[in-house]
């Protein structure tokens, strides 16, 4: 088959409430190739989380369809591993129990899954916290556990719903570097949602810019910044040029989402 992993065809989603119907996403199409890191950028309320929730199978499109390797996603799909903004770690499980949760359900032997988990714990720098509970960890550490928990389940695609949004600016940059380090040459497909242009430029192979609600694809462009990407990259001319380009596209949408008229 082709190297296309996810394919969204003319997806729309309407939410019905007792007051009115709200269209969150309209006629949204997108393909994600295997091993590609795609960042979706958009103003808040543009429906980007809605789209991600549909890829995960948490909700179904009102029209159109989303395919994973040619098969339509109709229910919660464990092959699309999700990382939530609020970590969503299980508070009653230790770090290692959280990480081994997916493999455990799959029937991987305890010894095997614990060994794998210990490898991950070492790689993300959480050694010594194996038997801590999430409540004892800082936000950045919790998000590393969440990331590890998703990766240990070996998903076909990693879905990231503004995972670093709740972190302070410095921890956030450190986590972006962490993700790049872990994913470098791993060929893991990632669909990443953010409202930060910097985050999108640092992480992605391709950037998709969404319009204000109802969300549509406003622009797509290849991000050809060289890898590996370090923080210094943000000072280069090419980076600034791309950032300017993205911002000019996003600005209109932010302004329209806020309902401000440009002076």
């Amino acid at each position: 088959m082709s190297d296309i992993l996810i394919r969204a065809d003319n997806v729309s989603k309407v939410f019905h409430s007792h007051k009115e119907d709200v269209e969150a996403i309209h006629d949204f199409s997108l393909t994600v190739k295997k091993g590609e890191i795609v960042c979706i950028v958009g103003a808040s309320g543009c429906g980007k989380s809605t789209f991600l929730n549909m890829v995960a199978g948490f909700i179904q499109p009102s029209s159109g369809r989303i395919l994973l390797e040619g098969q339509e996603i109709t229910k919660v799909e464990p092959r699309c591993g999700m990382i939530f903004q609020n970590y969503a770690l299980f508070p009653w499980m230790t770090v290692i129990e959280n990480i081994t949760f997916g493999p455990r359900l799959k029937g991987v032997q305890k010894k095997v899954r614990h060994e794998q988990a210990k490898q991950w714990i070492k790689r993300v720098g959480l050694k010594g916290f194996d038997y801590s509970y999430p409540g004892e960890l800082s936000g950045g550490m919790q998000q590393r556990v969440a990331l590890t928990r998703a990766l240990a389940n070996e998903p076909d695609v990693l879905l990231c719903d503004e995972p670093f949004g709740a972190l302070d600016a410095m921890t956030r940059q450190a986590m972006q570097q962490e993700l790049l380090r872990l994913m470098y040459k791993s060929n893991q497909t990632i669909l990443f949602i953010t409202h930060s242009i910097d985050e999108a430029l640092i992480l992605s192979d391709r950037v998709v810019i969404m319009s204000a609600r109802p969300g549509r694809v406003k622009a797509v462009f290849e991000n050809d910044l060289p890898r590996p990407r370090k923080l210094e990259l943000q000072l280069t001319d090419r980076y600034l040029e791309l950032k300017r380009k993205v911002w000019s596209l996003v600005e209109e949408e932010v302004v329209s989402a806020l309902g401000i008229r440009k002076g």
Binding site: F58, V76, W92, G102, G135, E136, N153
Partner: protein, 259 residues
């Protein structure tokens, strides 16, 4: 840590001082004749009565505590064993909840006392009747507390579990049950107090042992000292159960320990 320990000692000392003060005041007031011991015997007299009830040929007190304690715990545990699983199912399945809700709503407002006539008709005044009274007094509350606790579990955690491959039963066992457990346990603590009310009432109406029976017969013989001994025993037993309960909570909820 140290200042916390000091604070604990501090409140323990102040607490004991308060206890001694009030008991002393009570003793003095009765001894000086301000209160007729028939209405309120002095602490020393109550202790004397308690001693007589625990030693010698009239040593019934320990047996009473044992009888009442067994009745409370049996009825309470039965209601928990049936109520918690059913509550979890009702909490997670809208269909089951809708099906059973009318029955629960009818049973729930009934005080345990109102079950006494029926339970005596059906079960006599055996131990089973006491268990039944406690069970009926507790069951609906266990159910409602468990359903509430289940509905309060963060839906995001359920989504996260399903995203990691959890099926319905997995979700129930690994997410809903542990997630609801803290609220279930604090609900059960309230129910345990209800269970005591049930058992004391049941023993006052038809029994020949137990603290409720002892208090009631003492009243018939105008033995105020024995009434007070019975009441004190209820307090003490509840206090001891409370301490045990707290230990169980700590064991069952290790992730809550650090907060």
């Amino acid at each position: 840590m140290d200042s916390k320990k000091l604070g604990l000692w501090h409140s323990a000392i102040v607490g004991s001082a308060g206890f001694i003060f009030f008991v002393g005041l009570w003793e003095v007031v009765v001894r000086l004749g301000f209160i007729d011991p028939f209405f309120l015997p002095a602490p020393s007299q109550v202790m004397e009565r308690a001693l007589a009830m625990t030693t010698g040929k009239d040593a019934v007190l320990l047996n009473d505590i044992r009888m009442s304690g067994t009745r409370v715990l049996t009825g309470f545990l039965l209601s928990a064993v049936v109520g918690v699983p059913l509550g979890l199912i009702m909490g997670t399945s809208r269909l089951v909840r809708a099906f059973l809700n009318p029955i629960v709503s009818i049973i729930r407002p009934l005080p345990a006392l109102s079950w006494i006539p029926l339970s005596m008709l059906w079960l006599g005044i055996d131990e089973q009747q006491k268990y039944a009274i406690v069970f009926m007094g507790c069951f609906a509350s266990v159910l409602v507390y468990t359903i509430d606790a289940t509905l309060k579990v963060d839906p995001l955690l359920i989504l996260a579990a399903r995203n990691l491959g959890a099926k319905r039963l997995h979700t129930l066992r690994f997410i809903v049950l542990p997630g609801a457990l803290p609220n279930i346990l604090s609900g059960l603590k309230v129910v345990l107090a209800i269970a005591w009310t049930c058992v004391i009432s049941a023993e006052m109406v038809g029994a020949n042992s137990g603290l409720g029976f002892r208090i009631w017969t003492a009243k018939e013989w105008s033995d105020t000292g024995q009434v007070l001994v019975g009441m004190l025993c209820i307090s003490l037993t509840v206090l001891v159960l409370d301490i045990i309960y707290r230990v169980i909570e700590k064991v069952l909820l290790p992730w809550k320990r650090m907060s």
